[in-house]
């Protein structure tokens, strides 16, 4: 009887030890992220001023600013979103609502799964060969937007498919019973019902795209840019100009990389300041996505 008690106590002890091990491992992850954030703030927060955000890069760390990188990131994100969002949603709708379950559609699915795992730098090499030299688009904002759009396409497709699959079959059947075509069902019922799920996916995709460095280095984004692309709005007709699409550019991650690779520690400090801005953007986008996802789950009472 005592033996049994001792055995039980020993097993409980092993369990308790493992519980502590689990918490410790999770703590290492959380500590790392805290150390990272703390280190960035410690190094960079004193440089994070309004003039830093609105100045151009310079040979002197104290005069350098983030403005071209901020504008570049914004413009590249616009191109990425304009290309990737419609394309990704359309592909997902096709695969879930239109495509017959045959070899072709499972081939496309396998393809998308594989694309999601291709390293981002490979997308950069493809864009270098095809967009920069093949189509002659140059090292421009348009090339960068296309590269990142193709890179995040699988994320948007997967999120949209998940949202579509969570819609119960009865909704589709009710719509068909009213004589609606597949497209009418998709347009009037399925897309509106899955909107917040799709939005979550789009935000995650953009937060990934805004932090990507490697593919943009590969297509040759410049890291020293002391001018802004041409404004998309003009005073003369036709008021809209698309010259900015073919402009050279830099983005925040590339600017950070450039500053980190310099030997002077003053540049490391402004790199930290830029990293704070970048992290606020990516974590902010992720937080929005998380809230949206939680709200979708709470509302979903099919």
């Amino acid at each position: 009887m005592n033996d049994l008690k001792r055995m039980i106590a020993r097993r409980r002890r092993i369990d308790a030890i493992f519980r502590v091990a689990g918490i410790l491992c999770a703590a290492v992850g959380i500590l790392t992220i805290s150390a990272l954030l703390g280190f960035l703030v410690y190094k960079g927060v004193s440089h994070l001023t309004w003039s830093f955000l609105t100045a151009y890069p310079s040979r002197f760390a104290s005069k350098s600013g983030l403005l071209p990188a901020l504008v570049g990131s914004l413009l590249v994100m616009i191109v990425t979103a304009v290309l990737a969002v419609p394309l990704g949603i359309a592909a997902a709708v096709f695969l879930d609502e239109y495509a017959p379950k045959n070899r072709l559609s499972s081939f496309i699915e396998l393809n998308i799964a594989n694309l999601a795992g291709v390293p981002s730098i490979i997308y950069g090499l493809m864009a270098l060969g095809i967009c920069v030299y093949g189509f002659g688009l140059g090292r421009s904002i348009l090339t960068a937007g296309i590269t990142l759009a193709l890179l995040v396409l699988p994320i948007i497709i997967t999120a949209t498919r998940e949202a579509l699959r969570s819609i119960p079959q009865e909704l589709r059947e009710a719509s068909f019973a009213q004589g609606a075509t597949r497209w009418q069902t998709v347009w009037y019922h399925l897309l509106p019902s899955s909107l917040s799920g799709i939005a979550t996916g789009v935000i995650i995709a953009l937060s990934r795209a805004i932090g990507e460095t490697a593919p943009l280095i590969t297509i040759g984004a410049l890291s020293f840019i002391a001018f802004l692309p041409k404004s998309p709005l003009s005073a003369q007709p036709p008021y809209l100009s698309f010259e900015w699409l073919s402009s050279p550019f830099t983005v925040m991650p590339i600017q950070i990389f450039n500053w980190v690779s310099r030997p002077q520690s003053a540049f490391h400090e402004i790199a930290a300041a830029a990293a704070i801005v970048l992290i606020i953007l990516t974590l902010g986008l992720n937080a929005i996505a998380m809230v949206l996802r939680a709200r979708v789950r709470a509302r979903m009472q099919w």
């Binding site: 097993r11 409980r12 493992f18 519980r19 689990g22 491992c25 999770a26 992850g29 790392t32 992220i33 150390a35 990272l36 280190f39 960035l40 394309l87 359309a90 592909a91 709708v93 096709f94 017959p100 379950k101 496309i108 393809n111 594989n114 694309l115 795992g117 291709v118 390293p119 981002s120 730098i121 490979i122 997308y123 090499l125 493809m126 270098l128 060969g129 095809i130 093949g134 396409l153 589709r172 068909f176 004589g179 075509t181 597949r182 009418q184 932090g211 460095t213 490697a214 280095i217 297509i219 991650p253 990389f257 980190v260 690779s261 490391h268 930290a272 990293a275 970048l278 990516t282 992720n286």
Partner: protein, 337 residues
């Protein structure tokens, strides 16, 4: 069997010919109401059908973009790599231990780059897989619902941080920290790059493995508890074997991420190709080499430009292999229950 389960989960939605005849009979009812209304409805219906067909084609074209992208990647990588191998023998590529394509006396052995990739990947996995699995077991078997729902997203923040920021952290925080313990450690070293990459990969392993373990039916666990097993024994002897292919997929996916990771190794392990397996030294990985060449001004069509694609193709092939294994494992794990 897999076909059946797919059909059960997502019944296909295709208005078959039965639907069409149903729509047609609805129209006949309309025509009894008044010929004008019927004509209008018929016209609308025709337009809607046309629109449906058209959108089907457009959506199909959008879906095939992914196939085009894959084709473009394969084509461009292997075309340029082919040109590369017109200058360089495959033997030299595979057996030489020097990689100096931009030097006056160029050598083209992929081994230094591949070895550095292997070392950093191995170090990263040494951190990510044990820690990721312990966290997965903890989340799935030990923690309550509440703490799981807080811990999991918090850990996933690790994978949301841009890799260039991790590179900065590895170079300027982790390396100096390690140098206090090992003063002989170089400023660029594979050790800190690998460790930071491993921590970045923890959520990839833990989330996927936890999902796999979570989907193991409760009945199996209850069986183990009923014969007196504690939670750890249940996890190790029952849950992990049952979720093995999902856990395997999580680990393989981490491998493929680590191979393709660029910025952390480019910043913290340096960009000098060096044939060494010593983690305390810096060496360029396949990805870091690509970054290094692209930062310079390498003319289009030169051997330096082509060497990019040779390195890229090597990376792509390694990565594709691991992705295929992961895909296969995940499919198996989905079929099990």
């Amino acid at each position: 069997m897999s076909r059946l389960s797919i059909e059960l989960d997502y019944p296909s939605v295709h208005p078959s010919s039965a639907d069409q005849s149903f729509q047609a009979s609805a129209l006949e009812n309309d025509s009894q109401l008044g010929s004008g209304a019927a004509a209008l409805t018929r016209c609308d219906w025709k337009r809607a059908r046309l629109m449906d067909r058209l959108m089907g084609l457009i959506l199909g074209a959008c879906a095939s973009v992914s196939v085009l992208v894959t084709a473009a990647i394969v084509w461009i990588l292997f075309r340029e790599a082919f040109h590369f191998f017109e200058h360089v023998s495959l033997r030299e590529f595979l057996t030489s231990t020097e990689w100096t394509p931009l030097f006056a006396n160029p050598r083209y052995g992929i081994a230094p780059l591949a070895l550095a990739t292997a070392v950093t990947t191995f170090l990263a996995l040494l951190v990510a897989i044990p820690m990721g699995l312990v966290i997965a077991i903890y989340l799935s078997e030990y923690s309550g619902r509440r703490s799981r729902e807080i811990l999991k997203p918090t850990l996933e923040l690790l994978s949301a941080v841009p890799t260039v920021v991790f590179g900065y952290f590895a170079l300027l925080f982790v390396t100096p920290l390690l140098q206090r313990v090992y003063p002989s450690l170089g400023g660029f070293n594979m050790l800190s790059a690998g460790l930071v990459m491993g921590i970045m990969l923890i959520p990839y392993v833990s989330s996927l493995a936890e999902e796999a373990m979570h989907s193991v039916p409760m009945l199996l666990r209850e069986g183990a508890y009923a014969v007196g097993a504690n939670k750890l024994t249940t996890a190790v002897r029952v849950v992990i074997p049952a979720a093995l292919s999902g856990i395997g997929a999580a680990c393989v996916l981490a491998v493929s991420r680590a191979i393709g990771e660029t910025m952390i190794v480019a910043i913290a392990a340096g960009m000098q190709p060096k044939f060494t397996a010593n983690p305390a030294e810096g060496a360029a990985t396949l990805t870091a080499y690509i970054v290094e060449v692209c930062l310079g001004d390498t003319p289009h069509g030169s051997i330096g430009y082509q060497s990019l694609f040779a390195a890229g193709a090597t990376l792509f092939v390694m990565n594709l292999g691991f992705n295929m294994i992961a895909h296969y494992l995940r499919r198996r794990f989905r079929e099990e229950y």
